[in-house]
Symmetry: D3
Subunit: 302 residues, 6 copies
Amino acid sequence: MFRHTDHMQFDIAPENPDPVYARKLQELIGGTFGEMTVTMQYLFQGWNCRMKGKYKDLIMDVATEEIGHVEMIATMVARLLEGAPATESTKNAMGDPVVAAVMGGMDPQQAIVSGGGALLANSNGVPWSGGNIVASGNLLADFRSNVSLESQGRLQTARLFHMTDDPGVKAMLRFNLARDTYHQNLWLAAIEELKADGIEDTIVPNDLFDEEFAEHATSLWHLSDGADADKGRWAHGTAPDGIHQNQFLANPEPLGNVQAGPPPDPKLYATYDGAMGEPRSAAFGTEKGVVGKIKDAVDPTS
Amino acid sequence: MFRHTDHMQFDIAPENPDPVYARKLQELIGGTFGEMTVTMQYLFQGWNCRMKGKYKDLIMDVATEEIGHVEMIATMVARLLEGAPATESTKNAMGDPVVAAVMGGMDPQQAIVSGGGALLANSNGVPWSGGNIVASGNLLADFRSNVSLESQGRLQTARLFHMTDDPGVKAMLRFNLARDTYHQNLWLAAIEELKADGIEDTIVPNDLFDEEFAEHATSLWHLSDGADADKGRWAHGTAPDGIHQNQFLANPEPLGNVQAGPPPDPKLYATYDGAMGEPRSAAFGTEKGVVGKIKDAVDPTS
Amino acid sequence: MFRHTDHMQFDIAPENPDPVYARKLQELIGGTFGEMTVTMQYLFQGWNCRMKGKYKDLIMDVATEEIGHVEMIATMVARLLEGAPATESTKNAMGDPVVAAVMGGMDPQQAIVSGGGALLANSNGVPWSGGNIVASGNLLADFRSNVSLESQGRLQTARLFHMTDDPGVKAMLRFNLARDTYHQNLWLAAIEELKADGIEDTIVPNDLFDEEFAEHATSLWHLSDGADADKGRWAHGTAPDGIHQNQFLANPEPLGNVQAGPPPDPKLYATYDGAMGEPRSAAFGTEKGVVGKIKDAVDPTS
Amino acid sequence: MFRHTDHMQFDIAPENPDPVYARKLQELIGGTFGEMTVTMQYLFQGWNCRMKGKYKDLIMDVATEEIGHVEMIATMVARLLEGAPATESTKNAMGDPVVAAVMGGMDPQQAIVSGGGALLANSNGVPWSGGNIVASGNLLADFRSNVSLESQGRLQTARLFHMTDDPGVKAMLRFNLARDTYHQNLWLAAIEELKADGIEDTIVPNDLFDEEFAEHATSLWHLSDGADADKGRWAHGTAPDGIHQNQFLANPEPLGNVQAGPPPDPKLYATYDGAMGEPRSAAFGTEKGVVGKIKDAVDPTS
Amino acid sequence: MFRHTDHMQFDIAPENPDPVYARKLQELIGGTFGEMTVTMQYLFQGWNCRMKGKYKDLIMDVATEEIGHVEMIATMVARLLEGAPATESTKNAMGDPVVAAVMGGMDPQQAIVSGGGALLANSNGVPWSGGNIVASGNLLADFRSNVSLESQGRLQTARLFHMTDDPGVKAMLRFNLARDTYHQNLWLAAIEELKADGIEDTIVPNDLFDEEFAEHATSLWHLSDGADADKGRWAHGTAPDGIHQNQFLANPEPLGNVQAGPPPDPKLYATYDGAMGEPRSAAFGTEKGVVGKIKDAVDPTS
Amino acid sequence: MFRHTDHMQFDIAPENPDPVYARKLQELIGGTFGEMTVTMQYLFQGWNCRMKGKYKDLIMDVATEEIGHVEMIATMVARLLEGAPATESTKNAMGDPVVAAVMGGMDPQQAIVSGGGALLANSNGVPWSGGNIVASGNLLADFRSNVSLESQGRLQTARLFHMTDDPGVKAMLRFNLARDTYHQNLWLAAIEELKADGIEDTIVPNDLFDEEFAEHATSLWHLSDGADADKGRWAHGTAPDGIHQNQFLANPEPLGNVQAGPPPDPKLYATYDGAMGEPRSAAFGTEKGVVGKIKDAVDPTS
């Protein structure tokens, strides 16, 4: 269960409105790597974590912080939109190219749809999608996703940092940059701890090494003609898991048969000339189910 | 430019059709972490790479391999669908619960839309989205995303490995598992190499440390009541970047002001009682543009 | 079955083209609350209505009108795009900041994709989605959605009314505003009539009051620290349904157990330390199906 | 800023797993009217509310509660998936029609993607979309949407109530039904209070009545041939706003001109025979911008 | 403007309900090639048609018919869902494998969301998208899309025809198959007529032949190693436009330079080693705009 | 399996950057008819082709070429973005209306998300969708889709050709226009060859003519009041299939019964007055399954 205080985690006080920048900030709310994604990704990871204790508690701490980041940036967007020329007619705007340019750079839905507030969408107005989040239950896989997310997040924040010179906006971004620095360190530390605790190792999942074809677990297939692909440690020496020896397959040849589908079901009307013969009769992983046999016995005419 | 050979990278030969499994395999084609995502993510990363040489060549090698993985799994799906009871009527199917169950577990679009072939969609039939890919231009950020992607990919492949006992299908998955093992090692090695080459470091992007608020770059805000959140190295000691000292903020209080939007533009009809006064006049990051001043001079009445 | 006349329901005659406004008007075609949504929402509600008579007839009257509103606004968009600088090169446009600003404010797809016509998308170019419509079969629930839809629709129309000073465009909007006024009244009247007819009451659905936990049907959980949440009639007195007595729960405590998932299936590779023991064996709402028992009897070795 | 306690708002304890029902419950998490929608809709409405005081405080109380509802149902989904036959092969499953039927009714992504946890998607696996939420800034419009949302939400919960006979699941739904009853009453009460406070009235927005064409604000256009469309109070008497007099337009004729687009820009290659003449020259709401005039003066040859 | 009659274009009378088939029929409502797509595609083409007369009139005739097809199939879906075991609990359903299999093959949203009615979604529950329609304004391009649409539509209808043996359902499909036959002929005839009228020719658009590189307008680049790619008339002889001579490029070599992006803007943090030098200074299709020159004159220090 | 060379199929060398045009070019990458769609559509058609030989080989040749077209245009986008004012603050940009206008016309995600590279999205920033592709297995249906796709593709390229005057950009487009000309001819030739080979004919699929209602396979239903709908060959004479005789149904009357759903399941809470009686008992295409009968025998009380 959650509780809320009206005070925001950090101060949000732009010196001046800037509706063009308000559109760009949408990327940090509803973009693929925005605050909405980290919020929901961490919440679902926390709820889906099957071990009680430090990892689950950690995830929930960070997840709860992130809801507050959506709050901060949504508030900043509203303040940046104050006094925006949203309701100017095109004719009026065209009398002043500066106004016209501002209108061209604005998100029209921030006026028409949300009335001067933030949208749950990215900087191109595409709504945030629940498909953005990752919560697989495997903590190593998910923490790697978290590192990736915080990296892209700080990268985008850094880019946005250069797109404003408003001291108030920059102050919020200075806070966000710092949190993203910590969160990158945090998830990297958690990955180290998973290994130190003996819970996970280098490869996700830490299993099936006896099942996979070992001879294909080490080599770079050189399928593009760039001359330097073998110049890195991915092509030579011991792999990061400390076990495999990397190799470079300079002239790889395909190992498989010719690509082809089976003969088609005639009732599906795939164009076909019969050269491959008839499709074999149906088999669904079993020749005939037990119940099918019962059915035959009960009603052999059906 | 690309070239294609009809021979597949690896052999695809299921012993028996299995249309229920054919639906599940869609996850590896068009799911968020499927082959389509790695293909397009690596292609766009390669094309967007701004340094000639080993990193760009590496990315293009792997990207080119991955197109062939889409080919392999799409072919497997078609072969698993051979002889599927797709065109059975419900009445017929209900006469045999096994057939009925198979039909219930199939993806109807694999019959109606693609006529026994693969879709560019996930195991629930949701089309693959271009929004799944990550190609930011920052190689450390992107390689971390690649590690994450290959981790989720091998995890899903491992789960699917247990959902079949067809030796032919398992053989393809044994190959895929091995490639995913290598690809996790590969991107981890590339991350090490970026650091060894002095091109990137631990935090993405490797800049703005003087700008961010350093006091907020080290502490876990304890906002959930789990008792063990401070038991990990994220809360104590030196951070993975070797610089910051992690801390635990056991009783964090909000630093910000009360959340509130500015007074609204009356023409947008936000419900408002006037308590905050009028919205200030428009300002778009500048009091008045140069052109605006010219305009005033030319036509002061407008 | 439908019939069409080439004459539009109302006159569409802008005095001047305005491609910037043409983009904004897309919100009224393909936005969440645009004419496409009301059209398809009312059509599906009408087709899904299970009572013959006045309600079904009413819905179909309004639905049929709304198709014509899509027609009107799509036509307006095309006329506003007449002579738009869509095919100007950037270089040419940059010679005249007014032209440049117009181009910046245009929807590029209105030129590239639809050749000067309307799109079935909103003002940010996001395509309309069939997921926007509501047709549950419960008329009270659906009419409430209709009131909401017409309210947002008139609100957006009012906002757009201030963004133009073209008398022809404004005339169309004056018509639309009036229709939205009537349609709000219409659905509110229909809701009153559902109650007057004794078909529905205040709460949707009008059932299960004996099943729900009555002690949780009346109280506001005060989970945010705003001081005035108990100042409204939602916290005191008789509720709108005339039955329940509203209450304010000033210091709510959670009633539930600690959030946790069950022990995971090992084949799904969720990170797990075994502390919760093994997952219990499968049970799908029944211990063992009848058919399973038959199967055991027929083939106990399987 | 938010805080979290590990205790859930209400107890979640299914007696038995039921993976088929776990799929259906996804509708209450990530469906259009699920807990995710109410959570984000209320959060954005609260953040976008421009009046301090009781309405904003109310919205934030309810929004904060709703995050906890996502938590509850996501936890229930994980518990219902315990021991699910997700990793059975098709062949094994086909040996027991009951197991096969369960597998057919499951969401494959709940196993492959989330490893036995909930998804942020609906019961057909379609991800939740940020486009589902409504936060216009106009409280009457938004509260009407809230009433609609809680009505559809309770309706879906009621339908789901009949689809299980597990006492533990039913207990959670009894709680949810009760909360939805209260929340319908709550938003209906808030609408009454907005009127009682004189802040909003019946029609959204409460303005532009002098601008709209009054003669079109009262009549039902009878465009479908159902005989009973005039039998309701929407066609006669005083409208709910207490002002307008409803009317029935039994034989409506179109008021507009013939539908037609303008002559096309030849560079856009719309098929055209020239019958309408040339498109008029560009005009963007103004004949020529001020800057354009300056430009002419400065460089008349450009 | 539109009018509606309650009578459907054709009779809809299934002999028996079939909820499994009701799900499959969703493909013909909200699938990419379903009735919703033809309806909206033809409506937008008609509204976007710039020539008055036979083509526009034709399109509007067919478009208006298609709205009625959505009506027919939506009604069929509702009738097929009559008495569906939608509200059975899993436990009850598992007692009868036939019921269980039916439930597994149903669309859960047809019960939970639409209460036994049709959805505006495809057979996997993915909502219909406005991005499915094509209305470019070029009639040849659009009529080709229409031929394609009616071809896929009849193909899917034919597949669905074999998936039922209900005489009433088959009767509706016999009607639909016939209409699709006519509509394929119709659009093919309209394409012939466009040529006979001299309005369009073989290539879309019928222009820019002097601008395009003629040497690249005739040859098949042989980039895959299939041996028979040159065995068709696409590789030899005169092309369908009667002008070009087809050729086969057996050993094509790339004509372009090495793929590479420009040196990046440092503020965007793309990983970069400086080897390509600095990015050139900005140029937006013009060296310096007229207004920029004015600005220099007014304020040379800025 | 695929191979890649770093050399592009054709030279990409814009004379000057043009970030406004870089946004428009996104339509040719990730738009519905962009290079991504042709790439994936042809790949999936090729993999889904059930006949070995010339058609399959042809499709794979073209598919492989198209991947290279994505490469070309993605590279062009990056080069056009060189030196873009992406990191300018609004305040700085407002000092120069030309810069401001460029910023307004740019895609903000090309800076914030991809760091100066291309996105896998259209010109409005909407991500490319796997739902765009068509690969039904029926070659006539699919080749018609291909003709349509190449027609829309050349149309959009032609429109974009007029929106630039950069000789380098125009050179690439001259190449693309030529390829699209050839590809239209190519698929038209392939359609002729399918007929010449006797594999397909005019109507898709080439079957079920005895099943469809022949009397509905020939007539245009005149449902819109345009006067000229009967002036084309679609209304008279022999149809393109050489068999049917076209007709014009000037005054069509509906053939069907009144639109209505069945009585609803009371547990779904559709509003209902009982006038149609109770819903009939469930029937799923069969009165009672065989297994159901067994169940009755085993446990008649269940």
